[in-house]
């Protein structure tokens, strides 16, 4: 098994920052808001490795910084400091020292992202098929017929009715919008996929089918995934390893069954106990 992503010391501070920011925030301080300068320490010193075909869970409550982790890796936000290396076959990319064009290229070709809010992942003013075509065009597929066929195949794979290929996503149900997002993210067959609370807010039966779909895709395509969620059920179902975050810091990391059966940190113990 080969490493696909190596993240070291990833940090993101919103605001001016001051010398006391780090010691005044985090799980011990019970806040991520620096009382001295008002900055928000969204994440500090997050490090992990991800291997090919592996699903890593990032869990924590709102404000723990878990979404910020994937947003910096997907270049939605620039980190304040830290390093991330993406290993792609024989090449490796130092993500945060790439220029904007190189970052855009990786986003369009080698990474995929599915957001909790489909507004962020989809263009609501063009059809479902068009959304996928957009991504295929960015990745250099130019033939209209080929693009349409591929878009249809992807929507069929994610169980979106083909009769709705030309409908606007804003007329879709929440679960269907997530399926279109997943189809779009998979369009370029990326080796690395980020999933940010993708089932939060959906009906339980819809959640279950989306999660089953994600698992099937992972088994078929061996896509490596970082799954951000506050839901222990999602962690249990999808992930092999997990990291637990609180107020921007990683407080625990381990094999998923170990975190659920033998959590070490007081906060994780409370989290697991309240779920069971």
């Amino acid at each position: 098994m080969n490493k696909i992503l190596e993240v070291r010391g990833l940090s993101k501070i919103y605001g001016p920052g001051c010398p006391q920011c780090l010691e005044s925030t985090g799980p011990e301080a019970d806040t991520n808001l620096c009382p001295h300068c008002g900055s928000v320490v969204a994440i500090h010193d997050v490090s992990f490795d991800l291997f090919e075909g592996e699903i890593l869970g990032v869990m924590g409550e709102s404000g723990s910084g878990k979404s910020t982790v994937v947003k910096t890796l997907y270049f939605d936000q620039a980190p304040s400091s830290g390093e991330a290396i993406f290993f792609d076959n024989d090449r490796q990319y130092d993500l945060f020292s790439l220029n904007a064009a190189q970052q855009r290229w990786l986003r369009n070709h080698r990474f995929g992202m599915v957001y909790q809010n489909p507004n962020l992942g989809l263009n609501f003013n063009i059809s479902a098929g068009g959304n996928i075509a957009e991504r295929l065009l960015m990745s250099d597929l130019m033939d209209y017929g080929a693009i349409r066929e591929r878009a249809k195949a992807l929507l069929a794979r994610t169980e979106v009715l083909l009769s709705r290929v030309d409908d606007l996503p804003k007329h879709f149900s929440g679960g269907m919008q997530q399926r279109v997002q997943i189809a779009k993210a998979l369009a370029t067959q990326p080796p690395l996929l980020f999933l940010d609370e993708v089932t939060t807010g959906l009906d339980l039966s819809v959640q279950a089918r989306i999660l089953d779909l994600i698992l099937e895709i992972q088994q078929e395509l061996k896509t490596a995934m970082v799954v951000v969620t506050h839901d222990l059920g999602v962690i249990r179902l999808l992930t092999g390893r997990a990291i637990v975050m609180k107020y921007g810091r990683v407080i625990e990391t381990g094999l998923t069954d170990q975190i659920l059966e033998d959590p070490q940190h007081a906060y994780t113990q409370r989290l697991v106990a309240s779920a069971l």
């Binding site: 089953d212 698992l215 092999g240 381990g254 069954d257 033998d262 070490q264 940190h265």
Partner: protein, 240 residues
């Protein structure tokens, strides 16, 4: 004598519950050796920490003390207490199986696929893996009409057969068994015992906890008796 593949030295496990500010001892100072092609049985009263030893080896629990030396198929020795998460996941995929007391599986998955899963993970083709799963389920007399549905609605004994078939299918080098015959009727238990003997003959090392002393007597090449861990006060004195 067969070569040792697992050496447990001074294994200990206690849980620290932060919320209640409590220390719960689970296993204490456990040492034994497991050899290829042999079955080692753990015995002792309830609360002696038998399951805790199995979970520590599989790293579902993080051991508190001791070393767990495992010799892998390539002949490399590694301490499972210190091994990285990726090393553990790789060993679980290729070499170490665990039949837990209760079946844990993905919801909504057909029984045949639940059983075939370890072979899927090794890259065996779906058809071949399902074929092998079907053979094992027939050998355990699980009615064929159940193969295409999820084990969610199964009886205890049916689930346990699914659990065992999944544990056996990839013929692991080391198989951990936690009361695998507890809820089976005598005839099925007999078939399972036959399968365990077959696997042993093929070289699998096994570490098992059996519900019935009679099963231990029949199958075990070695018996390790565990005593309940000492009270917290003694444990703390020892640490201090």
């Amino acid at each position: 004598m067969n070569p040792p593949i697992l050496q447990v030295e001074g294994y200990g496990k206690h849980f620290q519950l932060h919320e209640q500010n409590k220390l719960i001892p689970s296993s204490h100072n456990v040492s034994f050796t497991v050899r290829a092609g042999e079955l080692t049985a753990l015995i002792g009263p309830t609360g002696a920490g038998k399951s805790s030893v199995l979970k520590g080896i599989y790293r579902t629990y993080l051991p508190s003390a001791g070393r767990i030396l495992y010799r892998d198929a390539m002949g490399h020795e590694l301490d499972l207490v210190l091994a990285s998460e990726h090393q553990i996941l790789e060993l679980r995929r290729r070499e170490i199986g665990f039949v837990t007391q209760f079946l844990h599986c993905l919801p909504r998955q057909a029984t045949l696929d639940v059983v075939a899963q370890p072979l899927f993970a090794l890259g065996v083709s779906r058809d071949v893996a399902r074929q092998r799963a079907a053979e094992l389920l027939s050998a355990m007399k699980l009615p064929e009409r159940l193969w295409s549905v999820s084990p969610a609605t199964f009886s205890g004994g049916e689930r346990q057969r699914v659990n065992l078939a999944r544990g056996f299918i990839a013929k692991p080098r080391l198989l951990l068994l936690d009361e695998p015959t507890a809820s089976l009727d005598p005839a099925t238990a007999e078939r399972v015992i036959g399968l365990i003997e077959g696997l042993k003959a093929e070289g699998t090392a096994m570490l098992a906890i059996f519900h019935h002393p009679e099963t231990t007597r029949r199958l075990a090449d070695q018996v390790v008796e565990l005593d309940p861990p000492p009270a917290v006060e003694e444990l703390l004195e020892e640490i201090a």
